[in-house]
Amino acid sequence: MATTRTRLVALSVAAVVVAGGVAGCGSGGGEAAEKQGKEGGTAVIALTSDQQGVDAASLNDVRENVTRQLTDSLVYRNPKTDEYEPWLATKWTVADDASQYTFTLRDDVTFNDGTKLTAEVVKANIEALQQKGVHSTPAGLVHGVKVEAVDEFTAKFVLPRANAGFLSSISRADVGIVSAATAAKPLAERQKSIDGTGPFTLVSWEANRAVVLKRRDDYNWAPASIAHDGPAYIEELRYEVIPEEQVIYESLKSRKVDFFEAVNPLQVNTLKSAGVQISDVIGSPGLAGEQPLNVSNPILRDKRVRQALQYAIDRDAINKATWLGKNQPAANIFARTNPFWTDLSQYLGYDPAKSVRLLEEAGWTKVGDDGIRVKDGKRLSLRAAQNSPTTQIEQEEWKKIGVELVIDPPLRAEANKRILTGEYDITYWEQTYPDADILRANYGKTSGSNRSILDPSNAEDAALDALLEKQAVTSNADERKQIVNEAATVLVRDAYTLAVLERGKVWALGKRLHDVTPNGVDQLFYTAWLSS
């Protein structure tokens, strides 16, 4: 779930990154020479809303952009190989049952305030993220984790339960490592200012105006697989708050803005023709665009009804309407960039005739005067928590098979509560981290957010929940993959959730900006440079 309505729309639709194919982000051999003498400069980055600060410990929207430049993580996820590589940690060992991770830290890393990275600092970091008030995303990632400083540069993480996906968690900017002084600050203070080990440091944060970052000249610990070392090329990053999107597009065209992270796909052609570089779709490596169905509603308890909805989604039409056809239909609940993705497209076809058959089998044989099916005096009417082009197209498509979709989005401030209590039949969510455990976090009844409102007394629901729990404690990779695939298949085949399109973003780079590296949806400006 994202913050602004426009982002919600952009995110509810989805996509895949073609490896290394981001426009202006390729790293051909010839470019290295071209970069010579191209250090320095100020890149202007547009944000649509005030971020209220820079710290991902309490804010949700800064991790992909501002925070990722300020902090590094213990490990780096190589987006091309899905492998985890050394970053602040040079190596690590994982206990056989995946409940303990021991990291050996680099001994030459300093924070922006001059202090040294040690195991004690890492310990203080994790403890700080366990205090009250920390945003649920980072809090969830390190929930119950105990850190032991074995020696100056060895930190042992003891997890409350086995977690085979923990390297993924710890690689995220949400839990990027900050200095001891920052970790000791009250949350309210660190919201506005943090000291990390990242390639950029914070110069100023001004409400509703701008966040300014400056390059760190002594930065020298980038992950080895990134084709650059030493300090960043760009001298200064200016994040400007520009609430009106049309102004951002005009500014990109007239070179007043160099980067925007969430281009409306419908604007792509206009921007391209004005010389703005447009990335391929940057796929979020978590889940595809998903719409959990609430199975606690008696209508949706019958999986044939859920499957009927599923077969009446015209993904190509949604792709055309929201992405000019540039995205891909989902073929699993996982995004294609998630290492756990398998092809389940056999369950995700468009076949309205089959939908009608399924509904009739389920006893919804009578059609009322308004074209909506009726059973035992009850209309086949469902409520959606999101008003997006996707739900609007579904509304039209489902009407053709006799299902009414009432689009009745909650206010942002009440959305979580109303969705969690099962007030809606079709909801939405977002998970961005590339591991299978997101299925448990999202759909698990025992220890997850229970998006589909599973009923433990129902045998099928209970079996799904058990699979979601089991994958988290299975450390054998092959075995785990098999369990995960089983769970994903149940979710997709039995339509506990509707996977629509891949989820992703399109970046715009002004004419002079090059090589912003995507990692998931994170933006790494470390490799970026400005041509004159």
């Binding site: 649920s136 942002r412 401030a413």
Partner: protein, 311 residues
């Protein structure tokens, strides 16, 4: 003595308005579904969102009975302390007044331009002798009154920032930037003043006393400036409070399109996020401005027109 009593009564009403605005907006925020805890946990990917919601609710004190929360907020406000912003985590007064100066500048320049241009155009409708010019002057204000600020703002930005390059497209804090942004709110405000003045001048200049004055030998110009204007300006003054209100309301969209920091944007964000302390200080200060402007207008009435009895 009568004047003092008149002013004290107006003052009492002003304070009552402030109290009702504060109380009304506090309870309105509770009637609108959702709370700040919900807004703060938006986007959470954690497995246990229900607990996260409860934790935030406790930290923000939203789990206390509503009357306790209200009395605390009221007591604080009476002492000038509106509490800490739920989302910014700094005092609500800092959040508000950091932006207030910007909005005040924008609104003041907009208002000044509206008054000057509005009065000038209104007067000219009676002062010019060319019939076609008069028709134009009478036709333009109704058009400008209904100009959508959003459209004006985008057009002005397109012209001055992207075509002419006179100002920066976002966050321009120069005087030129300020004046151009203020045009968006000056247009409808000024048109409103011009329209009111023109209509009332027209009516005044047709009254029997004008004929009498004319028979005494005064020129039309003398009548217009010495007598007509004085009478026709009263309705304009009456609606001045509304004009100020409209101009402040117009800053919301102007600030958004011109990417200017200001209370307009802050209030919208705060309402969306259910940031009660920021909403309360915003509406209270806005209401106070409205009350003071109306109080001044009321105080000026008897001074301008001696016929108005204040007892």
């Amino acid at each position: 003595m009568g004047y003092l009593k008149y002013i004290s009564r107006r003052l009492f009403y002003g304070i009552l308005v402030l109290f009702l605005t504060f109380t009304g907006s506090f309870f309105l925020l509770f009637i609108i579904p959702g709370d700040a805890a919900g807004a703060l946990t938006t986007g959470g990917e954690g497995a246990n969102l229900a607990a996260a919601l409860q934790e935030q609710r406790e930290l923000l004190g939203l789990d206390r009975p509503i009357q306790t929360q209200y009395l605390d907020a009221l007591w604080g406000a009476l002492h000038g302390d509106f509490g800490v912003s739920f989302r910014e985590k700094i005092p609500a007064s800092t959040v508000y007044f950091d932006a207030f100066g910007n909005t005040l500048r924008l609104a003041s320049v907009g208002l000044l331009l509206a008054i000057v241009v509005g009065l000038a155009v209104g007067l000219l409708t009676q002062a010019v002798h060319l019939a076609w010019l008069r028709e134009i002057l009478l036709a333009v204000p109704p058009l400008f009154v209904s100009l959508p600020i959003f459209l004006t703002a985008l057009l002005l930005l397109q012209l001055f920032a992207f075509t002419l390059g006179v100002i920066e497209p976002f966050g321009d804090e120069s005087l030129t930037g300020l004046v151009i942004a203020s045009l968006c709110i000056a247009f409808p405000g000024g048109a409103n003043i011009a329209q009111l003045l023109a209509v009332n001048l027209e009516r005044t200049m047709r009254s029997p006393y004008v004929e009498t004055l004319s028979n005494w030998g005064l020129t039309r110009r003398e009548i217009l400036y010495r007598h007509g204007l004085k009478n026709a300006v009263l309705p304009v003054l009456t609606s001045f409070g509304t004009t100020v209100g409209n101009i402040f309301a117009g800053t919301v969209i102007t600030e958004t399109v011109f990417s200017r920091n200001g209370v307009g944007r802050i209030i919208v964000d705060a309402v969306n996020a259910k940031d009660i302390p920021v909403v309360l200080i915003s509406v209270t200060v806005s209401a106070a401005i409205f009350v003071v402007v109306n109080l001044l207008v009321d105080a000026l009435y008897p001074v301008i027109d001696k016929r108005i009895q204040v007892a």
